[in-house]
Subunit: 152 residues, 4 copies
């Protein structure tokens, strides 16, 4: 899919990694309070890559990443991907549903979420996320989610 | 559904609220580290009721309960419901998938998760959770999840 | 939940079983072409009950109801439930996502879908469906779906 | 992911397109009764491509492919992908859950389902399916499903 072509967005309108990262700071202050838990790595043509840092103890009981932490990585990653296409007009986007499959237990360490936008429509956006260990290729989890986009 | 009748479990074998709560303490130490975030309220014939306490600041950016916190409430509640039927034999149960719909923005305050077991089979258990504000009747979120049960 | 109270709908505005059934005939001609595959049984305060007839051979390879047939029962049932609240204004509602869990293999015979509306908002409706054998209480399948509602 | 490497399967053990197609004929006789509705196109390293033929009228009310037909394409495609890795040992695999997002209304014509296996474990397999119009690149629908694999 090429979401930005479908909807009149041009690459030149799209936000830089730095601008996106600043928007995430604004929108999810709790992710940054304890140090940056989730970092935007790259912006791709049809999504983004995000990283969950290994340092936080609350998210890693028993040394492994918890389900809620992977949920959060997927949720924040998709939000960032929508902003990368729609810019600040989409700041009020809200998650309406999220489906996650847990596939294998991750090793201790950072996790990478590779977000692919499946649809960015007028009212809804849908995306999927492959979650792997940083440096690994086996899937740890896979999520699909829908966001409602603000009118206008 | 009457899961305990389907699988030879008798009510007299089932765990008390206190015994279940102690198992949750053991299994999810991180839920208890910062004070009890999630409390088991009641054990029903086909599930349990769990409460997410309003006090924790990390889970409530901007005064409202975050998506990951509701994910955790559903996930822990279903785990407790499975233990209420299967007892300690199911301690190694793991979430394989979770689907959550966010329906309305909750008011500040505790949330209640009402877990209903849909199936407790030999290898898989499936349950759903109605999440409301404590004292309210409108749904804030609704989740469905599958757990893989340990063999034997 | 009481969806019609939440949105200014009054019971007196709501469609009768007969009126709803006629709308389903109009909207899903293929369901009726080979005899009525899916029949509206009752309209409840927060949903409807629908029945999948046992007669159709295509839907019942090997004597048991197929997955796609249960998908269709859930999908049509939720559509009917939305119409029961919103009336003809919602005829253009479309399914945006559907999640189904298959819990046990049904005996040959009719299936009943009990639809409960979880939310009927301005832009989205969410509902769940318990599917059982007619006359049975064990769940055969459970579905949750989201419909996008027409603007206005 | 490379499911066959993860689980001791070697490419030389894997089934050919012809052998797989014969197994589908055996397992889903109803798909073939009215002419071949679903055809296996190719077997990939981590999945398969399947095609839903445009000819069947029941599946295409109003000229467009129905939701249940796309459900069936995804379900049969994932089953074929599991057989392509595990062979006849997996014939008794059954769908335990399926989540589908409908993204755009398809043009009349064949649909292609590209199945990617996300995990093929000892007890469960998880896969996703991109559904597009034949010859098109925009997604019409996207599904994720879990199959329970037979023991042994």
């Amino acid at each position: 899919m090429k979401p930005h072509e479908n909807h009149g967005d041009r690459l030149s309108d799209r936000l830089s990694v730095e601008a996106l990262d600043a928007l995430l700071d604004l929108h999810f202050p709790q992710l940054r309070a304890a140090g940056k838990l989730i970092v935007l790595e790259t912006v791709e043509a049809d999504g983004v890559h995000v990283r969950l840092k290994a340092s936080d103890t609350l998210l890693r009981p028993g040394g492994t990443v918890s389900g809620p932490a992977m949920f959060m990585l997927a949720d924040v990653g998709i939000y960032a991907a929508i902003l990368s296409i729609r810019g600040e007009a989409a700041l009020q986007a809200v998650t309406t549903s999220l489906n996650i499959n847990f596939l294998s237990r991750p090793e201790p360490g950072d996790l990478i979420g590779r977000v692919r936008l499946l649809k960015v429509g007028r009212r809804l956006a849908v995306a999927e996320v492959d979650i792997t260990a940083a440096g690994g290729s086996d899937l740890v989890a896979h999520a699909t989610a829908t966001y409602a986009l603000p009118p206008g």
